[in-house]
């Protein structure tokens, strides 16, 4: 726990960015199912999939979540309460005007989309008003991105490596900086609900 962290009741978080690779679909479904409606906090997700495959992530999650789910498109504005997935084969960034931008720059840590790219751009765009959450995964993408969110004053959380299906990703993040929270999925979900309630009030 970061001792400098302001109590969340006093912190207005404007968006949350989430990253995962292997095991991520299950973990995200467990975290995001039945979000209480109306939901307001925009959520942006990078989930690694083998490149070259048409992604159906947005459809998969749209069928299973109550909140609106989209594949993020270039220059699309982030809407309150919507969930966005990065399209496969493109890096996804958030610009300061709170719109998405895509890029075909080379893969970062063998990944495109890269969690680091999304998180670093979101940290620039939102500063302290951002939460970053890193879940199960089989590489170290996201560790630097989460650190960037931390350095910009945002809230960082990782899935407890003991619970994660693959612990490499959360462990890499914990090794690089001390995340504000290391929690099992059930409690990460509770944290997300707390951030939502601070966002609304």
């Amino acid at each position: 726990m970061n001792p400098d962290a302001t109590p969340y009741a006093a912190r207005r978080i404007e968006a949350a960015v989430l990253g995962a690779s292997a095991g991520g679909i299950d973990a995200l479904l467990r975290m995001l199912h039945d979000l209480p409606l109306p939901w307001h906090l925009p959520l942006v997700v990078v989930l690694h999939l083998p490149e070259g495959h048409e992604s159906h992530l947005a459809e998969i999650f749209a069928e299973r979540l109550q909140v609106p789910v989209h594949e993020a498109a270039d220059k699309m504005p982030l809407a309150p309460g919507h969930v966005y997935f990065a399209p496969p084969g493109y890096h996804l960034s958030i610009e300061r005007n709170r719109r998405f931008s895509l890029s075909c720059e080379p893969p970062v840590r063998f990944s495109r989309p890269s969690i680091d790219v999304l998180m670093a751009s979101a940290a620039d765009a939102y500063g302290p008003a951002l939460a970053g959450i890193l879940l199960t995964g089989a590489n170290d993408d996201g560790a630097e991105g989460l650190q960037r969110i931390h350095l910009a004053g945002g809230i960082t959380a990782v899935q407890d490596p003991n619970e994660a299906q693959i612990s490499i990703m959360p462990e890499a993040a914990i090794a690089l900086h001390s995340p504000d929270h290391v929690l099992p999925l059930r409690e990460l979900r509770a944290l997300l609900l707390q951030l939502e309630s601070a966002h609304v009030h």
Binding site: A73, I94, S101, S103, E105, V117, G127
Partner: protein, 284 residues
């Protein structure tokens, strides 16, 4: 010609890095007339920081000081600021849709002009030339291939691509509805595949900036894929304005697989022709 709008004030204070980036782009524009001032910031920042690391410079301000005095260094920086990432028949569905839904209409014109805007190292130009030859159109088509990066244009003229890419390109070509054997179009030598020079013998490769230059020809098809994603909305609107002006009545515009005109000022001025493949048609 529209002037590019001045960027509006930002809601939160700029970081020092962002201020340095803006000053660098202003300096480059004043000194070399390359206008990167309306590129999206997130990606531009990544590329400049990458360039700093590669060039061994401590800060963007230090880079600016050197770039102003050293045109050679600017030439090197330009390679980082532009994104020469492309492949042949990238997103095969796009080329298949061109064959099926655009080529039959292009056949009705006595002669055809095609503009490949932001052609980078030429992969897309050769792909289109192959497609047009197979469809019996190449001999009466004038292709204009434009880019701001002179090194990329030179590579595009040569039509030589790394041999290790050919396997992926071949699969793309087949999925794009290719009618022949892909190997008919190139000769392999050492580490490279040299494409049939007759494919692009009549292509005009030219230095052209979507940020500062104007329309140069009336065209039936503009293909501009994965270029607009690097532009902010003001610059996207400027580029789309050029395409709209260049296209003939009911001319075609092809964009990248994840690009759209929905968030631009031109959303009402084009109709979706093959929407999943991002092929639009100038509205009446």
């Amino acid at each position: 010609m529209n002037r590019i709008a001045t960027p509006s004030p930002l809601p939160s204070p700029l970081s020092n890095t962002e201020i340095e980036l803006r000053l660098l782009m202003e300096a480059i524009y004043l000194k070399y007339s390359y206008d990167f001032r309306n590129y999206t910031l997130a990606s531009q920042k990544r590329r400049v920081l990458h360039a700093l690391a590669q060039l061994g410079l401590p800060s963007i301000s230090a880079l600016q000081e050197k770039v102003l005095r050293d045109p050679g260094l600017f030439g090197r920086l330009l390679q980082y600021l532009t994104i020469p990432v492309s492949e042949m028949f990238r997103d095969p569905g796009y080329f298949l849709a061109l064959r099926q839904h655009v080529v039959p209409i292009l056949h009705t014109y006595p002669s055809v002009k095609v503009w490949v805007a932001g052609c980078s190292t030429g992969e897309e130009v050769f792909s289109l030339a192959i497609l047009l030859r197979e469809e019996g159109l190449l001999s009466r088509t004038q292709i204009y291939a434009t880019d701001i990066n002179p090194d990329s244009l030179e590579k595009a003229r040569q039509g030589i691509f790394p041999i290790e890419s050919i396997r992926g390109y071949t699969a793309n070509y087949q999925r794009a509805g290719g009618r022949n054997s892909f190997s008919d179009y190139y000769t392999a030598a050492y580490e490279a595949a040299r494409f049939d020079p007759s494919l692009c013998a009549d292509v005009i490769f030219a230095d052209h900036s979507l940020a500062t230059d104007s329309v140069f020809a009336e065209t039936q098809l503009v293909s501009c894929r994965n270029v607009l994603i690097y532009f902010n909305r003001e610059l996207q609107d400027r580029a789309l304005g050029l395409f709209h002006e260049s296209l003939c009545h009911r001319g075609f515009l092809g964009l990248g697989a994840k690009e759209s005109i929905d968030f631009s000022s031109y959303s009402e001025r084009f109709d979706a022709h093959a929407k999943p493949e991002r092929i639009y048609r100038k509205a009446t």
